[in-house]
Amino acid sequence: MRRRVRAIIVVLPILGLTITGFRLAQQDDEIQAIRQAVQYYLDGHATGQRAVMEQAFHSSARLQAIRDGAISIRPIEEYLSGSPGRPADDESQRRRRVVSIDYHGTAAVAKIELDYPSVVFVDYMQLLKIGNQWKIVNKIYHMDRK
């Protein structure tokens, strides 16, 4: 009986730690997968390549912002078709970073900052895990001129 109790005392914490470790690893994998979708977006900006940018977005995605006091809505196709195909002339001076990522289940959000020589954009992305892949389904943004 004592042996059994001892075995339970030893095994239970190990089991708990293993499950916790597995969950943390799963969370880490999910964050990495979300970050990859966001990275396609950042790389799309850096390269100006439509093929790179469109990997980040779902085909039904929308982009919205307040421009000059009015709401501006752009479907993703219109946004992608504006890809210049090459990096911007001042690409070396452009800075981009992922500020934060949060998720629950198959829904995620990311905050991104694009710091360019004359303007700073803050993008808020909504992502969904569709067919085992994270895709941006909505983007809203705010722009401040320097």
């Binding site: 709401i71 969904l128 722009m143």
Partner: protein
Amino acid sequence: MWVPIARSSCAACVLFTVLLMPALVAQQARPAPYIEEAQIERAVADSYIGGLRTRDFTLIRSICLPNAVMMSARGDGSLSVTTLDQWSRRFDPANSPFTELEASIAKIDREGTAAQVKILFLVDGDTSVTDFLHMLKVDGKWRIANIIDY
């Protein structure tokens, strides 16, 4: 004894006026921090969460932009997109899908006229639902542009 006290009081008044008053005036002139976040929190609590709780879709519609959509990932791996009109038709005030809805606004992140809000729901004490809202400030009011949930 009277004179020194009066002099020191007078000096304190001058010191207050010269040094502290401008600082106080500047403090009052500056916009209160997080005033926008407070407006977002109130609007979401009153109209969105309030509308869900009381099963009043007019409240929910009042805080949403006309073209707002609710999106989620279906179990079969496809994208579900629900417009406000589609949602309102499914929104039966007489038959609530829950008896108890606990809600807390877990996070508000704002930059200028754009904001992201995270709401945690506990439905009937045993089901967790998370809503992420995209909000834009239009004509001085914070409105929901998109909702995703899990």
